[in-house]
């Protein structure tokens, strides 16, 4: 039985754990406010809030209901628009009405959910972050300018909220119905469930790839739902390594203090990865085993020379990420094995890192080409370098030859130009919806170059 609170109602349901939250709320609970736009997490019309109780406090984030397995709702508070509605409009709703932020109305609920959800965070509200909260919401009518104005209006009002106790403040100011205050007490009573499944059944994390690729199969599938397993979400450092749990989401990684410390530009990089709701769901292990040649996290962690720790029952083995992929969607992972940890050596003081991604649309898109670099230099001499590149081969590619060529050499424009032909031999792009092969080849060279422009601006400009 899956048990969770849907709006103001405690539910125990025997519905299939693989059913999407979207289908459950719309067709089993008859909550039709949540809309279906694409069923692939690319429009935000089905955004709902997922509330988790952590250390006595509620943390709400927006997610796309179309990709979320019902199993992942266990023990949580799921909020749809019906659970936000009060007699009078809340300030997000009112701002959208006043500024004409809604035209046909079909995307509107998704925006309202994202905007209201943003008000509920434990951080000081800013306009930039309010916009970031709706980066996964697509509107075809308004051209977004009226929605921007609505956000400006909303931020003016919510700026004064209590960061310590946002929910209480929001209830008082009539952003949220009163029942929200008692949610933590009600959630505490829901027990953690131990799933009984076969070892060999498919492991499912956030669902953001699987539910796009094979939604119908996922409904039937008996799966290991790992997403809610807190032990799998840890991010910590030990013996000079940083360990990331397999089920850590992109958001978890972005917010982990140790990651922030070593990668000060992390928010800027991750802003190029999908959208806020997808980052709230997509996990690092999911990204790796999806084995897309263009996986953003895969490219990111390849350049960190990461290793993955695979487990099957009590057996555990470690494999270098740059040795994990064999061919298109083929990897060195045995049946029943799951990724448990990803680890990489803490970057040293001389290390510099950069991540680049170019796609047809800068945000909320899959890369045409992406690339990352970790480099350490001493007196302009390359000590150590790892470069990865995606979208130009059947697998996410670690540039062995190019990296090796640069090793020990003195950085110069000439050196970079000499490296480009080597890079060219390591890639074999194909033409598809993300660009022609010629374009990807050119882009690969450009992104390789731009790493040095970004990291050594005085030398390369």
């Amino acid at each position: 039985m899956i048990e969770f609170i849907l709006n103001n109602k405690l539910l125990k349901t025997a519905a299939r754990p693989g059913m999407t939250v979207l289908d459950f709320v719309r067709y089993q609970q008859q909550l039709r406010g949540t809309k279906i736009g694409c069923r692939e997490g690319d429009c935000g019309a089905c955004n709902v809030l997922e509330g988790k109780l952590e250390k006595g406090k509620m943390h709400y984030q927006n997610i796309t209901a179309c990709l979320m397995p019902l199993a992942n709702a266990h023990g949580k508070h799921i909020v749809t628009i019906e659970g936000m509605n009060m007699k009078q409009l809340n300030p997000a709703q009112q701002a959208m009405v006043d500024e004409g932020g809604t035209q046909c109305g079909f995307c509107t609920v998704g925006f309202i959910v994202s905007m209201t959800g943003y008000c509920m965070t434990h951080e000081q509200a800013t306009y930039e972050e309010a916009i970031a909260a709706i980066d996964g919401n697509i509107c075809r009518c308004t051209g977004y300018k009226s929605i921007e104005r609505a956000c400006q209006k909303l931020i003016q009002a919510v700026k004064k909220k209590s960061i310590d106790k946002p929910i209480e403040w929001l209830i008082k100011k009539q952003y949220l119905p009163e029942y929200f205050s008692n949610i933590p007490n009600r959630l505490k009573k829901i027990a953690v469930i131990e799933q009984k499944v076969k070892t060999n059944s498919m492991a499912v994390g956030g669902g953001t790839d699987l539910y796009v690729q094979r939604p119908e199969e996922m409904l039937e599938q008996s799966a290991k739902h790992l997403f809610n397993n807190k032990a799998y979400k840890k991010i910590y450092s030990k013996d000079g390594f940083i360990y990331i749990g397999a089920e850590a989401t992109v958001t978890d990684i972005m917010e982990a203090p140790i990651m922030k410390k070593h990668f000060p530009q992390l928010p800027q990089y991750m802003k190029l990865v999908s959208s806020t709701p997808i980052r709230n769901m997509g996990t690092i292990a999911g990204n790796f085993v999806n084995a897309s040649p263009i996986g953003d996290l895969t490219i990111f962690f390849l350049a960190l020379n990461s290793e993955i720790i695979l487990t099957k029952k009590e057996n555990e083995r470690t494999i270098a990420l740059n040795n994990f992929y064999v061919d298109y969607k083929k990897m060195r992972k045995k049946a029943g094995e799951i990724i448990r940890w990803v680890r990489f050596k803490k970057p040293g003081k001389n290390h510099q890192f950069n991540f680049e991604k170019v796609s047809k649309r800068t945000h909320l898109d899959i890369a045409s080409v992406n690339s990352a670099i970790l480099i350490s230099t001493k007196q302009n001499k390359v000590e150590q370098v790892h470069i990865s590149i995606g979208g130009v081969a059947p697998i996410p590619t670690y540039l062995f030859k190019t990296s090796k060529f640069l090793q020990g050499k003195t950085l110069s424009l000439d050196l970079i130009n000499e490296a480009k032909p080597i890079l060219n031999t390591e890639i074999s792009p194909i033409s598809d919806a993300r660009g022609t092969a010629d374009y990807k080849r050119l882009l690969a060279r450009q992104l390789f170059f731009v790493h040095f422009v970004e990291l050594f601006p005085e030398q390369f400009h």
């Binding site: 509605n85 980066d135 509107c139 422009v453």
Partner: protein, 764 residues
């Protein structure tokens, strides 16, 4: 003389969209939100997997074995004609012997759940004999595959004109198609009623088109079919003709099974099965004299119409109407060809062929400017339309605002200063370059098919004083319902909250024209106004009788009767009660047909448009010359709204249309392979603008023009014109790329200008 520019007065609040309250609460009801009736069956459609070929056999054996499958329906099961073609009867509902595009419906499965229906479709086994597919319109043209004979508009004497030209430039310009991407996919829900009657709830812009076609397919009279449209989750032209098939299928299913049948397309199916904005390939020749006057313009447009005509012949016509955009050209010869290809039948999309034609004109100007060594805007400004000019189709240019909007823009946002900033930025930066472009527009308002320019309104005043209005207008986000409320509230002098706009329903309003051509508010608003005027007159007569005064001394104001401008005790509700006692008719059905307009298709001359809408925009863009990415810094527009009746709604149309047009020019890339398969067939591969890809600044100035009496309350039509500005995005990008790579000159100006094309241009 420069007209005074009127800013949006923020202190006068416009009426909010009447739907917005239920929208923000998620309480608005779209097709898939209608509570299901018991016994409802769900539909999945089986479609062709090849672009062209003969159907050898279809095997349904496995499908019938599947539990939950109730019925399979194909062309054999159609009681009437297997035909849904609107302009030309060339499109079967279900393919019979041949298929002409990937995604063409062959059969449908009805089942007890949607999941069963979808799974069942995969069990249908079809054998084809594949035939060669054509995707390129020019290839189709060369083979003589045309939907209709090519059409030519001409003005002046070409031969003589070319001889007078100092500069003659030839070139090519292509635009890709555009997926509508209405957020609500196509869908319908049909209910069987007694005596073979069917009610269809549909997400359509054209209720009558669906009713007419369903009647034909079901072989029953139109009065047995009631089409009801509450609202659309976006249309943009994509549901003008192309909503019909799904409504007809649902009706057919309901007729055969006697159970309610629901059909909602999944997004990828919608993208695969439905038509889009027509891609065009074009060639042009433009001639100018030394003073940069355009003396002659010739163009050939090869419209990629797809496998069936759909609305393409009408779209083709509008390409010709707008071929010279906002410019006067004394000698014109433009020819358009509607080419049959093996992709889904393309269809209406905001602008309706106009933008495709205007892009070619702008490409010709840009290329000419480069050859001559001047800025495009020097040629643009020199040739702007003015009163007394004539359009290539014979209509005189009247109440022209082309120069006024250009000058208005110059005054508010001096182009010289923008250019100076850009030049300075470009001189100081290596890895980033800026570019700019000016885009004037001119768009004709009316259906170019004159007989379609009519509408009706049915206004009931109920005995409690509340009012219900039915019209032919379909609400799809454009705010037409709000405007209808405004019309009635103003004429009857009642509060807006007394008025309800009913669903668009073919039983209440018959023989509707589709909500399209930007003309919905004008046509239906005029009909509402007429009905309300009649009712008002009747009510004043009632008041005159009670007060024993002359009717000419009476007026309605703010729900009160005024005698010689001073209020008396009779309020709205009392007046209505009194009218009931006097047995006065409190309902009125009015009919409006646009006066003056006509067009002779044999001569290709006439006066097809009620009026024109004008405007000028300037675009500023910055490109990242290493990565090929770009961001629009600003778009500033001075637009001719006439006397805008609702600034929030009109501004929303302006901004939304602009961004949609920019999407078409920037990133929306429909990629078909040689076999006619759409590769960008999902939101993950077909990218429309997100909140980060819109211009950082959009500044819209409402030009205070006189408006036109043929526009409702002189508030000019605003649906399509703003999309045309988007074309400026292409030319701003071109300018920026050329700042980095002065040698860049594309052989064909080909939109969209994706980051790929930018990067290849920078280093090409």
């Amino acid at each position: 003389m420069v007209k005074k520019i009127k800013e949006i007065p923020t202190h006068i609040p416009s009426m909010k969209n009447i739907d917005s309250h239920s929208h923000v609460r998620g309480e608005s009801i779209y097709i898939d939100d209608i509570p299901e009736a018991q016994g409802t069956l769900y539909t999945a459609v089986c479609t062709s997997t090849i672009a062209h070929g003969k159907i050898i056999s279809v095997n349904y054996k496995e499908v019938l074995k599947k539990e939950g499958v109730i019925q399979i329906i194909n062309h054999h099961d159609i009681p009437g004609e297997n035909q849904i073609g609107g302009i030309i009867p060339d499109e079967p509902l279900f393919a019979d012997k041949e298929v002409h595009y990937q995604g063409q419906p062959i059969a449908m499965v009805l089942a007890t759940t949607e999941a069963i229906a979808r799974a069942a479709v995969h069990l249908i086994k079809i054998k084809y004999k594949e035939l060669p597919a054509i995707v390129d319109p020019i290839e189709a043209y060369k083979k003589g595959n045309l939907h209709i004979p090519s059409r030519t508009f001409s003005l002046g004497k070409m031969d003589k004109a070319w001889k007078q030209c100092e500069y003659i430039i030839e070139g090519k310009a292509d635009t890709d198609g555009q997926e509508h991407l209405y957020l609500e996919t196509q869908g319908a829900y049909a209910f069987p009623n007694e005596n073979g009657h069917i009610t269809i709830a549909s997400s359509t812009q054209g209720p009558t088109a669906l009713q007419r076609t369903a009647a034909k397919v079901l072989n029953i009279p139109m009065h047995k079919i009631e089409v009801d449209v509450r609202r659309l989750g976006g249309g943009f032209g994509g549901k003008e003709d192309q909503a019909t098939a799904w409504g007809v299928m649902a009706a057919l299913g309901a007729t055969i099974t006697r159970q309610p049948v629901k059909l909602i397309l999944h997004r990828m199916d919608d993208m695969k099965m439905t038509g889009k904005r027509n891609p065009y390939r074009s060639t042009y020749k433009i001639g100018l004299d030394k003073q940069l006057n355009i003396l002659a313009y010739e163009a050939d447009y090869y419209q990629n119409a797809g496998a069936a005509a759909d609305l393409s012949p009408a779209i083709l016509e509008r390409t010709l109407f707008h071929s010279t955009n906002a410019y006067y050209v004394p000698n014109v010869k433009v020819t358009a060809h509607s080419c049959i290809t093996n992709i889904p039948p393309n269809t209406a999309f905001r602008g309706f062929g106009g933008p495709q034609g205007m892009f070619v004109m702008e490409a010709a100007i840009a290329k000419a400017a480069r050859k001559i060594g001047v800025k495009s805007r020097a040629i643009q400004q020199q040739n702007l339309l003015n009163n007394g000019h004539v359009f290539p189709y014979g209509q005189k240019v009247e109440e022209c605002e082309a120069i006024a909007t250009w000058k208005g823009l110059e005054k508010k946002h001096p182009l010289k200063a923008i250019q100076q900033n850009i030049d300075q930025f470009n001189a100081e930066n290596i890895h980033y370059k800026k570019g700019m472009a000016v885009m004037p527009i001119c768009f004709g308002i009316s259906f170019t098919n004159t007989p379609m320019n009519n509408a009706r309104a049915l206004v009931h005043i109920y005995q409690d004083g509340s009012i219900g209005i039915s019209t032919a207008a379909v609400e799809m986000g454009q705010g037409v319902n709000t405007k209808m409320v405004q019309v009635a509230a103003k004429i009857l002098s009642v509060h807006a909250d007394r008025i309800k706009i009913e669903s668009t329903n073919t039983t209440r309003i018959a023989n509707t024209s589709p909500s399209a051509a930007s003309a919905t508010a004008d046509l239906n608003g005029k009909a509402v106004a007429m009905a309300c005027e009649v009712l008002k007159k009747r009510l004043l007569k009632v008041a005159a009788k009670i007060l024993k005064v002359k009717i000419t001394e009476l007026r309605l104001k703010d729900e009160r009767i005024l005698v010689k401008n001073s209020p008396v005790k009779i309020a709205w509700q009392t007046l209505i009660q009194e009218a009931m006692l006097q047995r006065v008719n409190l309902s009125e059905h009015a009919h409006y047909a646009t006066p003056k307009i006509h067009f002779d298709k044999n001569k290709e001359k006439g006066h097809p448009f009620a009026y024109h809408v004008y405007g000028t925009a300037v675009f500023e863009v910055t490109i990242d010359c290493i990565r090929g990415r770009y961001e629009f810094d600003a778009v500033k527009v001075v637009h001719d709204f006439g006397t805008s009746m609702n600034r929030i709604i009109d501004l929303g149309q302006m901004e939304g249309g602009l961004v949609q047009g920019m999407g078409w020019m920037m990133m929306e890339e429909l990629i078909y392979n040689k076999n006619g398969r759409l590769l960008s067939n999902a939101l993950s591969t077909y990218k429309i603008p997100d909140i980060y890809s819109v211009p950082k600044e959009v500044d819209v100035t409402f030009l205070n023009t006189d408006g036109n009496d043929m526009a409702i309350f002189k508030s000019k039509a605003v649906g399509e014109p703003p999309l045309l500005y988007g074309i400026g995005a292409y030319f701003a990008l071109l300018d920026a790329v050329q700042q980095f790579n002065p040698n860049f000159e594309p052989e064909t100006y080909h939109a969209p200008f994706t980051p790929e094309k930018v990067l290849m241009g920078l280093y090409g």
